[in-house]
Amino acid sequence: MKYMHLIWAALFRRKTRTFFTLVSILAAFLLFGMLDATRAAFASGDSVVGVDRLITTSKYSIIQSLPASLSTRIQAIPGVKAVAAANWFGGIYQDPKNFVLSFAVSENYLDIYREIELPADQRKVYENTRTGAVVGEALAKRFGWKLGDKVPLQSTIFPQRNGDKTWPFDIVGIYRPAKGAANGTDQQFFFHHKYFEDANAFQSVGTTVGWYAVQLTSADKADSVARAIDALSANSDHETKTQTEQAFNASFAKQLGDIGLIVSAIMGAVFFTLILLTGNPMAQAVRERTHELAVLKTIGFSSHSVLGMVLAEGILLLVLGGVLGLALAGIVVPIVAKGSGGMLNLPPIGTQTWILGLVLMVVIGALVGALPALRAMRLNIVDALAGR
């Protein structure tokens, strides 16, 4: 640390060059921040709150429904605390582009999904309103919905009894997701399964359920309970597949495409380029300073401290540019998320991204500094001073 001013002076010996290199590094880490946010947005299956939940779906296909009678039988399995049912509604608001993640849910669904924090008074109104709907904060903001609004949603699947596919709803609750909720929780729309059954032209929805959400008494019973649930309907015509909520979400995200792989491939290309882009000016800078380094050694700096100083210079360069880049990403990402109108739920740059980013900065900095540093260490004073 006591050499800090020396390292700093060396780094800004040629201001233009260092500035250009810093901009390259900044661009790379800006990209890193944005892409990592994108990856996190798609890998949103990691709700901390949902570790004690299982999802039971049809084994054969996501579109096949399950008998409503299964509910009481699942409830009877030891280790099961509560069972909620849900159905896909496929709602759109006004324009086909405005897709709304909407679900018809049983009354206890909101109890099982504790991260949906609805004020008690709104919950009461919801329970007493047949056409009541509870929506996430971000969704309400996206369409400018307020409590008490009457909102028509068009279902792409279910017509009402009168053949009309537009269903009227009353917004009676707006929730804010609790800390640790899965990304995108604040974009959802819930309403009474009862309303869905009663008004639906398809009478079969009264006796069937899209999927079950099962709350366990404790998370470590997940495997045994899942097996017990699937055993209930083994060899019937509605066999089930029960998995943890995390596994269910992960497998769904995977179907969109391997976002993680694409992001890693891009980042690989970016960082490879970055090493070259910074390594070269760095080597050049050290070459130019041969004389100065020789003088440093002459006045008593050990070879190792010279090595350390040049390495530190590389790391400092990367950390400077990288921190600026990530900070810029921290500003840009929320703007992009806002600009996409709810299409992209980019989470803000989190601690994990920062830690990974800092590790990358130090590693790349060390890599970039390594060759020039070794050269500086091995420098022969006499040769260097003689300009050989």
């Binding site: 390259s24 054969y60 296909s61 015509d237 891009i266 070269n280 000016p281 080597a283």
Partner: protein, 440 residues
């Protein structure tokens, strides 16, 4: 005063860059070829041009000595172009796969407001009304050429990751489908037999999902089905498994209902008549579109997102690469400062110096662009991937690195080279000769 002059000069360069970018983006390839030809002629025929060529030759000859720093320009730009072209190839491949599925000779009818086949439902009577509508082509026996279809989704494991299920579309089709979708060709095995639990599998689906080889059995809706053939169609249908509508409907307990009806039109012009007659029929509430329109629309959202991501990532990377190139070229003119100053001292004017430095940068950039685009073309052209499509099920598509995309990549590379070379070139020409000579 000096300050003002400097500021004015900076502003002017920025304007040149902006004007160049605007023209460059708008220019078609013919325009760029024309510029290249004019430039070559200038170099070959005028005195100034020949001088430029001499200076450039000296510069290029010394590139070998500056291999390390020159490779920064090449690799940096190769990276930008590679990522950009790969992202755009993904977006184009997806759009093309869907677009080529449809045509304007066939029309698809869904229940009103359904958006996708999976959401739709049409009962037997409505389907019959649709098939009998005017504008539908009749076969030799006078029956309409139409296919009442059903799309269901099955969970099948993915080859690359057997642990997790994917939604694979299964389409029930009628006998007429072979003339209706004539791009479908059986390449192995045979067609399914109506009434039996037999399926044929698309080439894309067979490649992506496990257990779909011809002759194998799979479990669907609790029953055993046999794969009897494989088909190719080079479009989105290849992601599907096909069986007979009746068999699929009974397995999934759909009774006699269908989800969509696809009809052959008398001619593309007959579409309006067909649509109007269905819209005017009080018994029906349906959405009618040509298959071209229907499938193209499904790719819109994702294509737009992929393009936006590709271009955003490309721009940010390009900024990084521009500054890398600036660093390299400033270093290069510095290394050659004495030589350039000598040239100017013996009477070479500014233009040859400026142009030669820029030409050198742009040649390096061109090399980078060719390498980046070339690698992507070799690795990714025809690369198969899949994503979740409109029917809540997997769409298998291939990356398509077209000539137009390669050209886009090269254009980006040259633009980066232009900006990265301009500032160092101007500096080289403006440093007072005496200063440059004295410095060394």
């Amino acid at each position: 005063m000096k300050r003002m002059k400097k500021f004015g000069f900076g502003l002017l360069t920025l304007l040149i860059v902006a004007a160049f970018l605007v023209v460059w983006i708008a220019l078609p390839w013919q325009g760029i070829v024309a510029i290249a030809v004019v430039f070559a002629l200038w170099m070959a025929l005028t005195r100034r041009g020949r001088q430029t060529w001499q200076v450039t030759r000296v510069g290029l000859a010394t590139v070998v000595q500056r291999l390390g720093s020159s490779s920064v320009v090449v690799v940096g730009i190769a990276g930008v172009v590679g990522v950009l072209v790969a992202m755009l190839a993904m977006s184009d491949g997806f759009a093309e796969t869907l677009r080529s599925t449809g045509n304007d000779r066939t029309a698809i009818v869904l229940r009103g407001g359904s958006q996708a086949e999976l959401n739709s439902i049409l009962d037997r009577d409505s389907a019959n009304v649709v098939m009998q509508a005017p504008g539908v082509k009749k076969d030799a026996q006078g029956r309409p050429i139409a296919s009442g279809e059903l799309v269901v989704v099955a969970n099948l494991p993915r080859k690359s990751d057997p642990g997790s299920d994917s939604n694979v579309p299964i389409r029930g089709v009628s006998a007429d489908v072979w003339s209706l979708r004539d791009q479908v060709k059986i390449v192995e095995g045979r067609k399914f037999t109506p009434g039996l639990r037999e399926l044929i599998v698309g080439k894309g689906a067979r490649g992506q999902f496990a257990g779909l080889d011809v002759g194998r059995s799979i479990r669907l809706a609790g029953q055993t089905w046999t794969v009897v053939g494989e088909f190719v169609s080079n479009d989105v249908l290849e992601s599907e498994l096909w069986g007979d509508t009746q068999s699929v409907a009974s397995a999934y307990r759909r009774g006699s209902s269908m989800q969509s009806v696809t009809v052959m039109l008398d001619s593309p012009a007959a579409f309006d008549t067909f649509k109007a007659s269905l819209a005017g029929d009080p018994r029906l509430k349906v959405d009618v579109s040509t298959t071209q329109e229907y499938f193209s629309k499904q790719s819109e959202g994702l294509t737009r997102v992929l393009r936006a991501v590709g271009i955003t990532v490309g721009i940010i990377m390009a900024i990084g690469a521009v500054f890398g190139a600036l660093n390299t070229m400033f270093a290069a003119i510095q290394a050659r400062a004495r030589e350039i100053a000598t040239l100017r001292a013996i009477g070479f004017r500014g233009i040859p110096v400026v142009v030669s430095v820029m030409l050198e940068t742009m040649l390096l950039a061109l090399l980078g662009g060719v390498i980046g685009a070339g690698i992507v073309w070799i690795v990714f052209n025809g690369y198969t991937a899949s994503t979740l499509g409109a029917n809540f099920s997997q769409v298998v598509f291939r990356f398509h690195v077209s000539a137009a995309l390669l050209w886009t990549g090269i254009k980006w590379a040259l633009a980066i080279g232009f900006i990265g070379g301009l500032f160092p070139a101007l500096r080289a020409a403006r440093v007072p000769v005496t200063t440059a000579l004295r410095e060394l």
